[in-house]
Amino acid sequence: MMVAADIILRLTLLMLLAPLLPGIINKVKAWVAGRRGPPVLQLYFDLGRLWRKGVVLSTAVSPAHVLGPAIAWIAVIAAAMLLPVGPAGASLSFRGDALLFVYLLGLARFCIALAAMDTGSAFEGMGVAREVSYAVLAETALITALLTLCVQTGSVSLATMLAPSAGAGAALLGGGLFGVLLAENCRVPFDDPSTHLELTMIHEVMVLDHSGPPLAAILHGSSLKLLLFAVLLTETVLPLGRLSVMEAIAALLISVMVIAVLIGLVESLLARLALRRVPLLLTTSFLLCLFALLVAWKGGTWAGQ
């Protein structure tokens, strides 16, 4: 019973907090550009409105167009269950859950991609092709990051892997994972979430034909995914497992805010990359993770020894 209550409490908190991040990012972007910008809570209003709105379905679509977002949303929430919060650990933790985390995000990608292919639109096909292709490199980098943490701690469970920081290679790993975070969450310089040109988009173009509640599920899912990556990044860099629970939560909150501000600054200061350069940047992220792995390998000491 306690476990169930714990899971529900944590998931509710994560799901409630997630839509805050895009709000903060947009506020930062607005400040840098000298605008007032939309309210921080804008995404909450959007989600509420979308949930009540009617749906326009393309004449081409199958039921997968609605089922895809539902499955993807649950997959991201399930991944959230596996992510630990500092010394409090994860609500569910077992050996090998780190890989389940990666593959759950894969499941979400698969469903969103199929829901987009469903419309038969060339633009959406293009976006899906880019999304799944670049995800190959992002996932490779993510697996390398997990290998680093495994070398560091000798464990394959996220709660143990993330309790200490990544140690000597933390900076490298942080850099690499920040790149993966930007790519997986379709931020500049990989993708531009606010563009209005279908030809150049990756993620946003996949959801062009979604509307109403399914779109709300997609938007909420992607904000949750951003939060998950921010938490993952924080815990690889900061040794949250060594703090007390309250300290760890405070540090986590602050760090997630800092990451959101950082993303906002990156979006304001950098231009979007040409599509053919995207793989190069992702390969750089992979190499950073690989170097972190080598550092961890050479460092060769277990946590706690």
């Binding site: 326009v56 593959y103 199929l114 469903d118 038969g120 639109s121 899906v128």
Partner: protein, 651 residues
């Protein structure tokens, strides 16, 4: 009933099926399916009880006494053979029926039974000579099944290529078993780990079984054979026949000593097969050819697990080795199940549309909801997505690799590239199956043939449904299948009981997580669906940037979809492009085609073959049937001998 009786029933059912194949398809169906059920029961009983069945009658074939044995490993593979054999039998009774294929259906049924029977014998034989005989017969049966549609040149060519490649493998296996028999003094095969002088024989086995298994770069026969065979044959070839190569490797790496480098080589071949297999798959436009390349990929995943088990065995048997082996073996099952499902699904598409060309399909879900949803299930399973079976086996292999890594020993450095390659393969397979499902089943029909299609009948649907259920079951309750893995891994390198236990993996937790995930997904899907209905649905054209008259031909194509990734792998894929780009202000006809050939076949095997041919043709000039020249050769020879005798005559 004891395994012996059940296997006898199975054998009798299959043999009787051969005789009834020509006269009564219905009787054939009943006999063959009951045979498959009997052998399934025998294998399940063996795996559940863990008792090896050994039978040595006084029955001599080819000068050797018959010796059959059903142990953990053979039972493990026999289950797969029975399940896919039964499913394929039922499927073919509608897919390749007498009405549409009056000439080829009856012999097809007979060859099918002979194939199943001999693959079963390969798994049971404990005598090298009988193993070879059964192996050769099953190879030949497969040839006749591949070229069942003999009127098509492509099917004939695929059959020849398969036959040639299989016989190269056969020569190596002859050498392997003959040398083994010569060195041990008996054709009996069994655990011989205490004879280190047998280790070099491993290389013969690796290439011989590797050609059958479709390891990159020995896979040259595989794509065309799988693509051109009837779909139920493709399913059994991909699901079971190539697993016979894996069976051989698993069997003889467990029974015989191997060189120190063997594990590393197998793991390296696994990594290469996995990544390049899926890369080649992405470049294909032919649905079944694409699936065939995915077999190469999955064989690679299996070999990664087997390779690490072998590395562990030569490094003092740490626990992770057995975990990797368990993952590899479970992936043998899983790949058999979802690949057969996908091939049967592609068969339904082929049956309905008459084409394997993906660019001409599209929107098939409307007319074929069963096929489409089962194919999508298989696609999610082969991409290794939770909560399905593909994830469970890949996860076990991963666990083995990560444990090897944290041991910080010699094997750890190899675990890094293997795990990275495994991750990359998963993401590439996902990309490939988004492409397949999206292009074939979703969107709008791209051509006339995709518009007028029909769903397949229940005889084709039922096997697919069964295979899909098995995929879901292994994913949701993996712990049910764990005892089978324990028995099989214990039989790999037989030792004192409990010497090398299979370490436990948290499969109960994973299964519970998968169940919860499935339940939540269902709940969320229903909730979202109802919400959508409540809020009201309006139908509109797909948004096309405001373009007023979009046509189905403007949908994204399979080639463009894969373009980014095939671009990364262009160094090995060597895509051939033909294009006429638009020129001038009023461009005339312009077109663009791209085609990914079988690079190893076209750049290595064929040039080598033509080199051998040209040397042979040149040598032929020496012998042209003119008597004078032969007398001249004789004189030359005598002269050479005389010189030799005079010069070296002092001794």
């Amino acid at each position: 009933m004891t395994p012996g009786w059940l296997l006898l029933i199975a054998g009798l059912g299959l043999v009787a099926g051969i005789f009834s194949a020509f006269k009564s398809p219905r009787l054939w169906l009943v006999l063959t399916v009951s045979g498959a059920i009997a052998s399934f029961a025998a294998a399940t009983g063996m795996l559940a009880s863990g008792v090896t069945w050994d039978w040595r009658p006084d029955f001599v074939i080819g000068g050797e006494t018959l010796h059959l044995r059903l142990d953990g490993i053979s039972a493990f593979f026999l289950i797969l053979l029975s399940a896919l054999g039964g499913a394929g039998t039922l499927y073919s009774s509608e897919y390749w029926d007498d009405k549409n294929h009056p000439a080829s259906a009856p012999p097809g049924r007979a060859w099918w039974n002979a194939l199943l029977l001999n693959m079963g014998f390969v798994l049971l034989c404990a005598n090298g000579l009988h193993f070879l005989i059964a192996w050769e017969i099953f190879t030949i049966c497969a040839y006749f099944l591949i070229s069942l549609e003999r009127s098509r040149p492509a099917a004939r060519a695929a059959g020849w290529l398969y036959l040639a490649a299989s016989h190269v493998a056969m020569i190596l296996l002859f050498a392997f078993f003959a040398l083994l028999a010569a060195r041990t003094g008996s054709w009996e095969i069994g655990p011989l780990r205490e004879h280190p002088e047998l280790a070099p024989l491993f290389w013969l086995a690796l290439i011989g079984f590797g050609i059958k298994g479709g390891i990159f770069p020995l896979h040259i026969w595989l794509p065309s054979a799988h693509a051109n065979a009837p779909s139920h044959v493709s399913a059994i070839l991909s699901g079971v026949a190539i697993k016979m190569g894996i069976y051989g490797l698993v069997r003889f790496t467990g029974w015989l000593p191997v060189p120190d480098a063997a594990g590393w080589v197998v793991a390296t071949l696994g990594v290469v097969s996995a990544v390049l297999g899926v890369a080649f798959a992405l470049g294909q436009h032919d649905l079944k050819r694409l699936l065939a390349y995915h077999s190469v990929e999955n064989i690679g995943i299996i070999l990664i697990g087997l390779g690490f088990a072998m590395i562990a065995a030569t490094h003092g048997n740490p626990l992770w080795g057995r975990l990797a082996l368990a993952g590899a073996l479970l992936h043998v099952w899983n790949h058999g199940l979802f690949k057969a499902l996908l091939f049967l699904g592609s068969g339904s598409v082929l049956h309905a549309t008459g084409t394997r060309e993906m660019s001409r399909l599209g929107g098939l879900w409307r007319a074929m909801p069963w096929t489409a949803s089962l194919f999508a299930l298989g696609a999610a399973a082969i991409a290794g997505l939770p909560p399905l079976n593909g994830f469970v086996s890949e996860w076990l292999v991963y666990l083995g690799l990560f444990d090897a890594l944290s041991e910080h020993g010699a094997a750890s450095l190899a675990a890094i590239p293997a795990a990275v390659a495994l991750g990359m393969t998963g993401a590439l397979a996902l990309a490939c199956f988004v492409k397949v499902c999206g292009v074939v089943f979703l969107g709008l029909p791209r051509s006339k043939i995709a518009e007028h299609v029909h769903e397949c009948g229940w005889q084709m649907r039922l096997p697919m449904l069964g295979l899909g259920t098995a995929c879901v079951a292994i994913g949701l309750v993996p712990i049910l299948f764990w005892p089978a893995l324990v028995t099989a891994t214990a039989a790999w390198q037989p030792g004192p009981p409990g010497a090398h236990p299979l370490p436990s993996a948290p499969l109960v937790t994973l299964g519970a997580f998968h169940l919860a995930l499935a339940a939540l997904v269902t709940l969320a899907a229903v909730a979202l669906w109802r919400r959508v209905q409540q809020n009201g649905v309006r139908r509109a054209e797909t948004w096309d940037c405001g373009y007023a008259a979009p046509t189905p031909r403007m949908q994204y194509t399979a080639g463009s979809f894969a373009g980014i990734i095939t671009g990364w792998f262009a160094w090995i894929l060597r895509p051939k492009q033909h294009s006429h780009l638009p020129v001038d202000i009023f461009p005339a006809r312009s077109d663009f085609t791209e085609h990914t050939p079988e690079t190893v076949l076209e750049t290595v095997v064929e040039p080598t073959g033509s080199l051998v041919m040209s040397i042979s043709m040149a040598a032929r000039k020496l012998q042209h049937g003119r008597l004078q020249t032969y007398i001249f050769y004789l004189l030359l020879g005598l002269l050479a001998l005389a010189i030799l005798a005079v010069m070296g005559g002092s001794q």
